[in-house]
Symmetry: C2
Subunit: 329 residues, 2 copies
């Protein structure tokens, strides 16, 4: 659903105001207010219907708008309360990957906070080269361009920040508290509901730009998940038993990212680590992390670089920078 | 000077063989050996002259090739003994920046070891957004694509590896031993002779690809340096008092990178650190490193992540990941 143009956003705003008052709006009124012909009004209403707006026309009464509203940049932006994140919000019907596009735009100079949403991704990416299932109409696939003045060694802690922001967002809509799986998957009842992929362009000492990619399963139904992930994935709608407004989830997400990114930039990392650990349920448990060879031991938490700390049988603690927790005993 | 085509490389090889025997080569002989017309030979010889080869023609004797040979991919490749680094060598008359082009080619799938050389750079880059002065005809500006399966946290140690390879290369041509300035400038007698810029595309856990950019001042003369760096920069030719064959320096560089990259991949980092410290003259000295605020103290060396270790007056040791050593007391 493409983003409405200027006259169309005016029409939507007029219809929304009328809706609040439970009124119909005549084509004549709109044509006068917007200083366009009635036939132009009719054409714009047609485009808006094509763009997913439910606009009904009653003879002698006029037009009215009914829910649900479509998911597009205008709807997400209209009630957004952030000042930096998603201040420039770009909506795409389809992208290969929101992160790939974000990295390209960042390279071309897109400012910090520029945010991309795709209705669907043809090559959605997860961590470590995995796919991210990205069907249209149901979920959120978004990437945020960040330009923190930090060394790449600190990027893992930025991912922890993002995991907090996503977990807080899930918490606003889910009846059950989410947990984080190191380093950055968000689970509810052990099933994946959201994922984060942080990609960057950097020198060894300094990050040029980051694409913070976030995927949230919002309105996927159990039967919509592909076979290989149906037992390990869930969505907000599955948990809540009802359809969720994606624009509302996106707005909550951007607010949470803005809040926690500020914490990340302005304070030492202890509050990020502490908050992240609040959602981390593997601490103190025996775990196994993939790798060559895999690492097994008691999980002691994470350090300030976001590395997983695993205590071996011999009492030494190993820092793990990359991998997948494959078993929790 | 563009890279010669297939027939042209055959002509160069024939002329080089003749040169070794101190012989001239007639147009007729070449035309027979290469199975092309004599007028085709003449055309190719003209192109080769335009490409910088000194080919003289004597009536009744034929053609002969004399030194110096031009600097191009064919000349660098022809005596190259590496198996991975520069196995695919791309020569450009002018690039914005060899690193920028290398990152682009890597993104499009260029294999590990693919190497770029530019005769000149219009936007040559140094560390932390600084410029790298890149006039044509005198120096080496090269970028090597690497794809190590390491976390971005380890990229700084890759830069140390590169600093060793560059220092070893300088050592082969300079009468005076070079030193490294943390993190990765190469100096001789306190003047900069080479620099390294490592840029990468990565996830937080895994590097996708690296552009290892190296600039070496080979034949710059004192008067060629711009005013702002003439007192702080030098070149191999200045040190040796004679013109140096750039192709020979490039080959030495690629051999050294191949050797030390293998050490980097196959062993723990201790031999990299130890070798790097051999060239590091600030250890044990009081230094100041730029930053907000700057860090001052006794330099204790570097750790396995390539971070500079500085001991404060209170006895604590601080790890510095980024910055510039501004003073050595």
């Amino acid at each position: 659903m493409p983003t409405p143009n200027k006259t169309e956003t005016s029409i939507i705003n007029l219809l929304k105001t009328a809706k609040v008052k439970d009124k119909y709006l005549s084509g004549e009124e709109m044509s006068e207010t917007l200083a366009v012909t009635r036939s132009a009004v009719w054409k714009h209403v047609s485009s808006l219907r094509e763009a997913g707006y439910n606009i009904t026309a009653r003879p002698n009464k006029g037009y009215s708008l009914s829910e649900p509203l479509p998911f597009n940049a205008f709807e997400v932006s209209s009630k957004l309360k952030t000042s930096k994140i998603a201040n420039n919000l770009l909506y795409f019907k389809e992208l290969d990957s929101t992160n790939t596009k974000a990295l390209q735009l960042a390279k071309e100079g897109a400012t910090e906070g520029t945010t991309l949403i795709a209705e669907t991704q043809s090559g959605g990416k997860g961590r470590l080269g995995k796919d991210w299932h990205s069907p249209p109409g149901v979920n959120i696939y978004t990437s945020i361009i960040l330009r923190p003045k930090i060394a790449p060694q600190k990027a893992q802690s930025l991912t922890l920040m993002a995991a907090i922001a996503v977990a807080k967002t899930i918490e606003e809509f889910s009846p059950i508290k989410p947990s984080v799986k190191w380093p950055n998957d968000i689970l509810v009842e052990g099933k994946k509901i959201a994922g984060i992929l942080t990609e960057m362009s950097s020198e060894t000492e300094q990050i040029n730009h980051i694409a913070l990619g976030i995927g949230i399963n919002v309105n996927m139904k159990d039967q919509d998940f592909p076979n290989d992930i149906c037992k390990t994935a869930t969505s907000l709608a599955v948990l809540k038993g009802e359809k969720i407004d994606r624009a509302e989830v996106a707005r909550a997400l951007y607010s949470n990212v803005e809040k926690w990114y500020k914490v990340f930039l302005d304070t030492d990392l202890s509050s990020i680590i502490d908050t992240w650990l609040n959602y981390f349920t593997s601490k103190g448990k025996k775990i196994c992390v993939s790798g060559t060879p895999p690492t097994e031991g008691i999980c002691m938490g994470i350090d300030s670089d976001g590395a997983l700390l695993i205590k071996n049988d011999d009492g030494t603690t190993k820092r793990v920078l990359s991998g997948e927790i494959t078993s929790i005993y």
